[in-house]
Every structure is written in C-alpha cells, then in structure tokens.
C-alpha cells in the first residue's frame, strides 16, 4: 500500500515571529536583524526566540506550548516524531555541575510529549542539521504504507553554549552575518526554533511529492566540494516524485553562508538543473541556522510564503562569488509556485531533499 501524504498544518516559533504566516510576513518586509550571544570574550550574532524568560526549562515549555496552540487540538494518541540535535543540554548547562544527564539520551522527548498533550507513540531523531527531514521521512513512510494516518513532526533547537562553542571551536561561525552564496560569506549564524508539521493521509493543499535522505562521508564537517553526493540525493528525490528538474520552480537552499558547503550545493545544483536554474531562495539570513529544527522551520515558512504568493528576497546576498556563479533572489516575487524543492546539507554528512507540490 502506498498512498499520498499531505501537510495538514504547520506551526512555528522562531526569532522572526510566532506563526508561519507572521514569519513569512516579516521576511517579506525585509526583516533580518539578529541579536547576539556571548561566548567568553567573543560575541556572535544569534537569532534567539522572542521570549524574556531566563529559566531554560520554563522558557522551553513556553515555546512548546505556543507551538502546540498553533497546531490546535489533536487526538492524544497522535504519533509524535521529535527532531533535535541538542535536546535539553541548555538546561543542564544552567543547572551546572554535577551534570545529572538521564541515561536515556532522548528522555526530554517525554516532557515534550506531555507539553503537547500527546501521549501516544513517540520517536526521536538526532541527525544534526538533517534531523527534521529524517523525522519527516520516517513519519511519511509510515503514513504512505498505511501503518499510521497522522503524525506530528516537531523540530526543537534551543539556546545552549555547547553547540555555539563547538561550532565556534571549528571556526564555522560568522562574526557578522550569514551571506548565502555571496563572495564575502564567512560562516553560519545560529538560531533557535520550535517548528511542527502535521502530516496526514487526508488531502490538504500541499503534498509531499518526494523526500530522500543521503550521506556524504567526505568529511565530518562538510560535503565533497564537487557536490556529487548532494546531486545524487536530489536526483533520487526527483525520481521518487516522477518529476523532471525543469518541473521545479523554486529551490529553498541550504545555503547559510558557509564557504565550503555553499560551494558544494552550488555545484550540485548546476549538475542537476544546468542552464534551467529555478528561483533560488535562502531563508537562513532571516531565521539563522536552527540546526535540527531547520528543515521543519524552513518548510513551515516556505509554505506560508507560497500560500500568500509572496516570496521574500534573500537577505545578505549582494556580491557574486565567481566560483559559485548562482544568484539567490534579491528582489521579492509574487510568482505562483506549484512545486518547490527544499535542500538540507548537514554537519556530519547528512543530506536531504524534499519536494512539495500543490494538490488539487
């Protein structure tokens, strides 16, 4: 049994606002300012949630409950798929030593389920930046096979020093701003998000036409610069969707302003799309890179943009890198999009491509 899987609803809390529509509107209006997060003597731009609470756990409960409110009432037995790269590590940082980590790595997902009012099956995913699409892939595989009818897929990435310090130690962070595909790009800007996608077998406006994950073991921190593995995943995704490259009208890029990963993504896109490059959009200059939540957060924002036929410009891009020679949209567009591709290229070798298509 294989049946179509639809996106029934999305929900989002991130630096730009507290619903997918509000975030889409803010991006349309060109909002892209970031706050700052200090790490010892160094400070980094950072896209934090608009919440004043300082207690990590209380703040997280507020964030999850806001997203739960957007989802509306759900049958408590709805299966929950949680994606995160850091879970509640920020809570333990705040409590300080001795660090009493629970023995079960994803024990925090039980608390998340309680806050969402979901007491059914619960599964957690931690695949760095591609966690969200891994969770989405598992949930939609089970729905497509007729094993479940609905699922809530939730991405959670909240402030902590461990991730910031780890990325800083590897010199992956920009000290100024994320500049996707730009000649002056010098690293990522991190951010927080809680994002949810309600998948269902019941028809809705958007259908998942294809979703494929992949792996690039070139290095632990970035893909092969030639982009070949990324291209393979995109081609597989197009095959699953029974679409040609020319059918894709818009690509939500991974591009976060990372020197190596942006180049690899550009090379992959050139090999798949050739001279017929669709519109290119990066959302990370306005949201930050929200790691394990990024796939779901950017999916929620993108669908809200497409529902309104208002595609924002990509902030942070102004100077073409001759090696990349691709141009994200620098002007807003009201083009009506039927099919879009979303790319994720993760720290740790994870890759994912998702194609969404309007239904009916």
């Amino acid at each position: 049994m294989t049946r179509p899987v639809y996106i029934a609803k999305t929900a989002l809390l991130c630096a730009r606002g507290n619903s997918p529509a509000a975030v889409a509107s803010a991006l349309w209006n060109g909002e892209c300012s970031a706050g700052q997060r200090k790490l010892g003597e160094r400070a980094f731009p950072y896209f934090g949630l608009p919440l004043d609470e300082h207690d990590w756990m209380v703040r997280t409960e507020q964030a999850i409950r806001q997203v739960a409110g957007q989802l509306g009432k759900l049958p408590p037995e709805t299966p929950l798929f949680v994606a995160s790269s850091s879970f509640q590590i920020g809570h333990f940082e705040q409590l300080g030593a001795p660090f009493e980590l629970p023995f079960a790595a994803a024990s925090f997902s039980r608390q998340i389920g309680d806050w969402l009012g979901l007491s059914g099956a619960r599964t957690s995913f931690s695949n760095a930046c591609t966690s969200g699409f891994s969770a989405l892939d598992a949930a939609r595989s089970l729905i497509a096979a007729g094993l479940i009818d609905d699922a809530i897929v939730l991405g959670v990435e909240l402030a902590n020093d461990s991730t910031l310090a780890g990325f800083a130690a590897m010199e992956l962070l920009s000290r100024t701003a994320g500049r996707p595909f730009d000649a002056r790009r010098d690293g990522l800007v991190l951010g927080e998000a809680v994002a949810a996608v309600h998948l269902s077998a019941k028809p809705a406006t958007w259908r998942i036409a294809g979703l494929r994950t992949g792996l690039d073991g070139f290095s632990t921190t970035g893909p092969n610069p030639d982009g070949s593995r990324i291209a393979d995943v995109t081609v597989d995704c197009l095959k699953e969707a029974i679409l040609k490259a020319a059918d894709i009208e818009l690509i939500k890029l991974q591009a976060a302003g990372s020197p190596g990963t942006d180049l690899a993504e550009a090379n992959a896109l050139r090999s798949v799309f050739g001279q017929h490059m669709p519109l290119l959009l990066s959302l990370k200059p306005g949201l930050g890179h929200t790691l394990g939540a990024s796939g779901l957060a950017e999916l929620a924002v993108l669908l809200a943009c497409l529902d309104a036929d208002k595609i924002p410009a990509t902030a942070g891009f102004s100077k073409v890198d001759p090696e990349i020679a691709l141009f994200p949209m620098v002007e807003r567009s009201t083009e009506h999009i039927e099919r879009a591709l979303l790319n994720l290229i993760g720290f740790g070798g994870g890759l994912a491509s998702l194609i969404v298509e309007r239904h009916g």
């Binding site: 010892g40 300080g96 023995f103 079960a104 957690s124 695949n127 598992a138 497509a144 310090a165 632990t220």
Partner: protein
C-alpha cells in the same frame, strides 16, 4: 518478502574497542568516538565484503547515545575558560558515525539515528517496519538495523541485517502483519540476542514483535 541476512550481538570492554577496530581494518580508526567504532565493527561483521557496495541504509537507535562524551563537553564548556577541543564536540554528534564508516561501506547511502527516551525499551518495531517499507519500495538493497550503547563498563552492539534479495542461508523472512503471532518478543534493546535464541530452538514457525509504544506496528518473523 524481506529476508533476514544477519543476526549479531557484540559486547566489548570499552578499552578493547580500538583493538576490535584494528582487528577488522588492520589499522586504527582515527578520531572515532566509541559509537562510531561500534558501528564499524558491527556493520562489517554483518555484511560480507561482496555485499558492502550494495545500496544500504543504516537505522540505528541508542539508549545511552554519546552520554559520556556529552558530560566531557559540558565540563569543558561550563567549567573551562576556553572553547572545547573540536574533537570533543564532534564526539557528541552521533550522526557523524555513519559518515565516518562510509568509506568502509561504500554502498552506505543514508543513515538515521534514533535516540531512545526510556531505559530498557527499544524501538526495533519501528526500525524494522521502516526497513521493510523501504526495501519493498526498492529504495535500497539492504538495511542495517542496530542498537548501539556504551557506558563506562561496557560497549554493546545488537544488529539485524535485512535484504530485499533472497539469500542462500537466510534463517528467516520478515513481513508487516496485522495481528500478533502466537509467540512474541518484547521490544527491548537486546532483541537480536533473543531472536537468535528463537532461531536456534525448535519452537513455533513464526514470531512477532509488537511494540506497545510504536503504533500499530507488528513485525512477523517466519523461519525459513
């Protein structure tokens, strides 16, 4: 029909893991966290050399995850004055395990890591259900499903390898079933060890795995 290709349980004293890796590769695996080393020795033990280039997915769960490495990182970040050593941060990222073993399993196309939220309860039923769905779709030729854990005193790996193609010596087939067979196993981390016992015995021809926490998924094993 999906075929069971390998059933494997391994256990090491943590200090013995690097030697186990050297025994398999003939050289050490540099800068590899214990979970990566467990993944490597288990995956290579499950797949003979002639099957390592076939399109493969790895679905692995863990109760402990990189808990010890996370404690080290927290000590460095919260108590230290400097940024952590890059390797200490990388060691807390379980997704890296698949990337680090890909060069030894060239067919490894994708991997998912599923951390567990309770001790003593696993999610084999979900891993095997996903594997069966993906193999039936033709997404890959084989799927490795694993439970990998490491603590101060022991590092353990439990593995089931599934193949789409019929195999000469496959001990059992798998399918998704609606009802539970007469004999069933609980969904616990050591499922492969329990399954191996059933395969070695002369009990019922079928065995089911039904997870109380994993939806309406029942996986049925049938002896071949």
């Amino acid at each position: 029909m999906i075929n069971l290709a390998a059933v494997l349980s391994q256990s090491f004293a943590p200090a013995e893991l690097p030697a186990a890796v050297r025994a398999v590769l003939g050289k050490p695996l540099r800068r590899a966290a214990p979970l990566t080393q467990l993944a490597l020795v288990g995956a290579l033990a499950c797949l003979p050399a002639e099957r390592r280039a076939l399109p493969t997915a790895l679905l692995w769960q863990s109760t402990s995850g990189p808990r010890l490495e996370t404690l080290t990182l927290l000590d460095e970040v919260c108590a230290g004055s400097a940024e952590p050593m890059p390797y200490d941060f990388l060691a807390t990222q379980p997704a890296i395990a698949a990337a680090q073993i890909q060069s030894f399993l060239p067919g490894l196309q994708t991997a998912m890591h599923l951390p567990l939220d309770r001790e003593g309860v696993a999610n084999w039923s979900l891993l095997l259900s996903l594997a069966i769905v993906w193999l039936n779709e033709g997404r890959c030729a084989q799927v490795l499903c694993a439970q990998l854990d490491h603590a101060i005193d022991v590092a353990s790996g439990h593995w089931l390898a599934l193949s789409r193609a019929p195999l000469e010596n496959s001990p059992a087939s798998l399918q998704l079933a609606k009802g539970a067979a007469s004999e069933s196993l609980p969904d616990t981390p050591d499922l492969p060890a329990r399954l191996a016992k059933w395969l070695a015995g002369n009990g019922s021809p079928t065995l089911s795995l039904h997870s109380p926490v994993a939806m309406k998924l029942t996986v049925e094993f049938t002896r071949l």
